[in-house]
């Protein structure tokens, strides 16, 4: 039984890993020359409700990737405005670690393989076509192609290609596989009712900052300084994808996090203005390269799906990550990717796919996002354990806790301890 995972970001890696652990032959296809996609420039884990979700994944038996990000963390248990107990993984270390881990598990990883079309038979996908026309057959398919870019979308809905880590011009554009299979994409919206949303952070080259800032980042993981009043731009919060960081503090302050790069918690920031700030006189961008001007546009390609993450209308296509909903973050991608990979195997051997229980945050967020996406307001929201509406919901429902033994107990009471470690084949 062969599972093909399309897209090698965090969700795709999680899906491939889970499908392999559940016993399938797995091929992971990635458009670029690196796995992890936007995970190569992210790094924030375990902040706010993500802590709970990470621990739930570990107890469910899907903690492999969380272990890697924990191991690769430069800073643990740090606080920054609106966020507590965050870990920041080192973006320069995590991709090779993940790649080796998947390789050692026996997953066939194919890089620079852009999937452009599907071969359908009734409501099933028989195979997928690579950009050069090669047909790859499979039994079940997981789409984790994300919802970011390509450059035409970043131009129409943003401020143009900002040369981000996805590198569409070099490796070719993302193609929506579900759409090619005949299922229309759904679109997220910005606060001003236009479509899409802009990525919420850019990264500075740490060496371009003053020694003092570098030392603080290396020591504390966080550096905060105020923005000159004339340069404060509250409007930028509305267009931002990461609503957990769309707080007043983020408009009034420069907030840097140390992920190996100096992660600047705003979508973009004009270089001339940035260099007016003490310590930033020589600043330059690491990702996106044109972070002084723009950032990538996301949420233009979300598949309709059920709570088992099967795409509506296609018998053997599942989805994870941003493709599966208006989710933000690595933990959310790992969560949805894992479930999609698991259910791919179940569908492949003729079993009904499963949902995660709503008494766990990892199950509730999938159900909640699906419900909310039906409403216009819901299309403007983003869904993350780390903040905005969903973190408030976690607290209201009593799902949020940092008590590891309590989380363990919850999973145990559901008889789901190590659920994802059991082989299906």
């Amino acid at each position: 039984m062969k599972v093909i995972v399309i897209g090698g970001g965090w969700a795709g890696c999680a899906a491939a890993l889970q499908a392999k652990k559940s016993g399938a032959d797995v091929m992971l296809l990635e458009r670029t020359d690196m796995l992890l996609g936007l995970g190569n420039v992210g790094g924030i884990m375990r902040n706010n409700g993500r802590f709970t979700a990470a621990e739930e994944l570990i107890d469910l038996g899907a903690g492999d990737l969380i272990d890697i990000t924990d191991r690769c963390s430069r800073h643990k248990n740090i606080d920054f405005p609106g966020h507590k107990h965050a870990s920041l993984y080192d973006v320069t270390k995590v991709e090779p670690e993940v790649r080796r881990y998947l390789h050692n598990k026996g997953i066939e990883i194919v890089l620079q393989a852009r999937v452009v079309d599907v071969d359908m038979e009734n409501k099933s996908i028989k195979g997928i076509y690579l950009h050069d026309g090669t047909l790859v057959d499979g039994d079940v398919f997981v789409e984790t192609t994300g919802s970011t870019g390509p450059m035409g979308n970043c131009l129409r809905y943003g401020k143009g290609c900002s040369m981000c880590i996805l590198r569409c011009p070099s490796f070719g554009p993302r193609i929506s596989i579900s759409q090619r299979a005949g299922v229309e994409d759904q679109l997220g919206m910005k606060g001003d009712d236009s479509f899409g949303a802009m990525s919420g952070s850019c990264k500075l080259n740490k060496d371009s900052l003053s020694e003092e800032i570098r030392d603080i980042l290396n020591r504390d993981g966080v550096f905060v300084t105020s923005i000159p009043p004339e340069d404060v731009n509250m409007d930028k919060l509305n267009i931002k994808v990461c609503q957990q960081y769309a707080l007043k503090e983020f408009a009034e302050n420069i907030i840097l996090l140390d992920t190996g790069h100096a992660k600047l918690m705003t979508s973009y920031y004009p270089l001339e203005k940035l260099r007016k700030i003490p310590g930033f006189e020589n600043a330059r961008y690491e990702d996106p390269y044109s972070g002084g001007k723009s950032n990538s546009i996301r949420y233009l390609s979300v598949a309709p799906r059920d709570n088992a993450l099967k795409v509506d209308g296609i018998d053997n296509l599942l989805c994870g990550g941003e493709k599966s909903g208006l989710f933000v973050g690595h933990t959310e991608a790992i969560t949805t990717g894992t479930l999609a990979g698991f259910n791919a195997v179940r569908i492949g051997i003729g079993l009904r796919p499963v949902e995660l229980p709503v008494s766990l945050a990892v199950g509730d967020i999938i159900n909640y996002e699906k419900e909310m996406r039906k409403t216009p307001e819901g299309l403007k929201n983003r869904y993350t354990f780390a903040g905005a509406n969903y973190f408030a919901r976690m607290k209201d429902l009593g799902l949020y806790t940092t008590n590891i033994s309590e989380i363990k107990e919850r999973v145990k009471n559901l008889n789901l301890t190590d659920f994802f470690n059991e082989k299906l084949i």
């Binding site: 852009r114 452009v116 079309d117 047909l135 450059m151 035409g152 131009l155 193609i175 759409q179």
Partner: protein, 329 residues
């Protein structure tokens, strides 16, 4: 289903063209009445980006320029070879597989524009060589040109399935053709030889004692086998069938380039496809063209899903258009 689709102008100095400006781009969904990216091919540039940065206008299209004829030779009473001195840029742009130009006498109106394939482009002396057969009113007009001629170009869609030839390296290709249609195969052969491929040419001399392309093919290092290929494009002669079977076995061709008219393509392509379904096909483009910009509609044909193909600039997989078995499914 995977679609072999490309636009010969995509990514060139002429892209985006007026089709994009009017929401009819062959490649880009954003420029074909869609609001989202779903491009049908990708070659490293974004047509939409180019369009926006060009102030939402198309790029300037090709225009006629007057050039000097440095040699005019009758290969037969109805077959003329012209060598035209062009500028450096045009010679260079025409030194590509599938290159062609529109030619017309200076005094005639645009309707006399005749698409003619480039047989050779000398990029040192900036001389292009073309061969045309006098068949109708447009080629009769070209015959009148002795010293000067109007040239519009470059165009690049003179061969369908171009990608298969361009991608070929350290492999082997069979060129099979007859008549004036072999002219574009000469330039294609040169490029393939440059890419260290073995090129075998089976050609029909027709009424001539020696085909005008033979010396070119031989000078590049192709193996040339003159033979009578078929009877009125209706059936392939027994001897040629045997020859083809023998060659296919011996050389294990990756690509076959058919250089004849469309009936010839159909005959050759289906015969060889039945012998070896893995061989890829390229065909010289015989479409009737007037504008070369995908606008006038004279070159249009229908693909297997009844979609319109603007063959003056749009690439298709010849097997999908000329393959009988596929089309009857």
């Amino acid at each position: 289903m995977f679609r072999y689709i490309d636009c010969a102008d995509y990514g060139s100095e002429f892209c985006p063209c007026s089709l994009a400006e009017r929401g009819e781009c062959i490649i880009c969904s954003q420029l074909k009445n869609q609001k989202f990216c779903d491009c049908l091919n990708w070659k490293g540039t974004c047509v939409y980006q180019e369009f926006i940065w060009n102030n939402e206008k198309s790029k300037k299209s090709r225009e006629y320029r007057k050039f000097r004829i440095v040699e005019k030779r009758y290969l037969r009473e109805d077959l003329i070879l012209l060598k035209i001195k062009v500028n450096q840029g045009l010679a260079r742009e025409l030194c590509n597989i599938g290159a062609f130009v529109f030619l017309k006498p200076e005094r005639d109106i645009e309707a006399y524009s005749t698409p003619i394939s480039i047989m050779e482009s000398d990029i040192i002396n900036n001389i292009i060589t073309v061969v045309f057969k006098i068949e109708g009113v447009k080629t009769k007009a070209l015959k009148e040109c002795d010293k000067e001629i109007m040239v519009k170009g470059p165009y690049w869609n003179g061969i369908q399935g171009k990608k298969y030839i361009e991608d070929l390296k350290n492999k082997s290709c069979l060129i099979i053709g007859r008549g004036v249609a072999l002219a574009p195969a000469v330039l294609a052969a040169k490029k393939m030889i440059n890419n260290k491929n073995n090129v075998y040419v089976v050609l029909d001399r027709g009424r001539s004692e020696e085909h005008f392309t033979e010396s070119y093919f031989k000078s590049y290092g192709c193996v040339v086998k003159p033979t009578k290929i078929c009877n009125m494009n209706k059936y392939i002669l027994d001897d040629t069938r045997e020859l083809l079977q023998h060659l296919l076995k011996k050389w294990n061709y990756e690509v076959v380039l058919s250089a004849g008219n469309d009936d010839f393509h159909r005959l050759i392509l289906n015969y060889i496809h039945n012998l070896d379904p893995y061989i890829k096909f390229a065909t010289v483009n015989n479409s009737t063209m007037c504008c070369g910009e995908g606008v006038c509609g004279s070159c249009q044909l229908r693909g297997k899903n009844n979609e319109i193909i603007k063959t003056c600039k749009q690439q298709f997989n010849p097997l999908e258009v000329f393959g009988e078995e596929l089309n009857s499914k």
